[in-house]
Amino acid sequence: MSTTPQPAFISVVGATKRWSNGVTVLDGITLTADRGDFVSLIGPSGCGKSTLLRILAGLTPLGAGSVRLDGMAPEAAREIMSFIFQDATLLPWRTVRSNVELGLELEGRTPTAQRREISASMLRLVGLSDVAHLHPRQLSGGMRMRVSIARALATRPRILLMDEPFGALDEMTRDLLNEELLRLREQERFTTFFVTHSVSEAVFLSTRILVLAAKPGRIAREIRVPFEGPRSAELRSAPEFLRLVGEVSTALRSVQCDNPPENP
């Protein structure tokens, strides 16, 4: 969107975070992401994936280091950023439509009529047009997640932060939503940071996978996913896909086994 001649769209340099109890959760994380990248963060539980995401969003203050998103500090970058949580975090007293409009409503720049239009088109995008008038409790878990995605996309974010968005779903729904997310990315061209525990999900979606190690949290490996062109469900059975799944799994196992820092 902007024409800033920044070398990287998103850059994190030496990000370090220590909790008040003295535990270092992230130690010198350095990474960059270009426009349109889909970066997955994968690693053992408690290694600080959520914390890193929350730092990118400015929800958790950074200890040391710097974070720049399109040249902005996290708080300022919220304008172009949406966060999708593990649970759908819908407001139960609002209908699906008005949940989707929440972001626009809170920003307060879009007139009501236009909000209506946007929410309608977002719901069409995630295939939920005919439940727009229902309340969240009347939806299945997968549908709620779709509403959450529609809400996040309604503000036209350039950056999407997703913390295990499909963690609570069954595998079939998860696969379906993965394909949907790829399609949405084709259309909306957002840059994504995606936390997951599923290796195949990470390989299927990402352009790059960062394997994090724990105690303290740091990037142990970076694996590029070089698939060209649009991806489809068939990709899951391609030999190259399976090879990458194997590679990521091995990397994940090695960080889970040895605790002392290793520098590749």
Partner: protein, 263 residues
Amino acid sequence: MRRLLAQVGWPLAVLVAVITVWDLACRWLAIPAYVLPPPEAVLRVLVERRGNLASAFRVTAVEAGGGYLMSIVAGVLIALFFARSPLIRRSLYPYTIVLQTVPIVAIAPLILMWFGSGLRSVMLVAFVICLFPIIANTTQGLISVPRNLIDLFAMANAPRSAQLLKLRLPYALPSLFVGLRISAGISVIGAVTGELFASSNAVGEGGLGYSITYANSQLQTDYLFALVLTASLLGFLFFFTVAALEWLCLRQWHESAMRADAD
């Protein structure tokens, strides 16, 4: 609607049973009427003195209702203040518990002594007794908003006012209603108790509590019963008004509000 019916149906059955036992006891045990008047005597008084009862009902309804409404406004405001920080809660919460644990019969004479024994003082007694359940429940609702929802509003750079109006207050609504239901009944207790103390030096206030002391001193036990029934009726009216309002406000999403995070 079915819930409402169940709430009315079973208590009604109990009422019929109690009246039957009461009637039989009066007949068989030959209890004097000034100790326990038979049901039909009470019924007769209810009809004959309906004018007195209605005006006493009105006075007490204004006192209880006024105190109740005041406690809702003040209780929600105090809860909003309490919800601002744990430090505020820690320092002030113990004093609201004092409000609840000191018997109302001890507070009522004080209030009447300080503020005179008019209708407004009785209203104040009702107010004091209603306050705690509303503060406690609303505060609980306001501070249990999930962190992710708060973060969601933070991500949208939502101002504090939007967070309050569009997140915290709606989220706390079911808890507020719990407090409202508890206080609906006890507002009548507060008003009647207040009147008991007002009666000693008030002249023309004549609410249910005042009439109860009067009937008691005159050994008009049947009238006393009628007054007690009228007071319960008032409590029931308050309670069901609130229950109906709650149903109207929450029926769309109430269940989900209770388990908002169960996916």
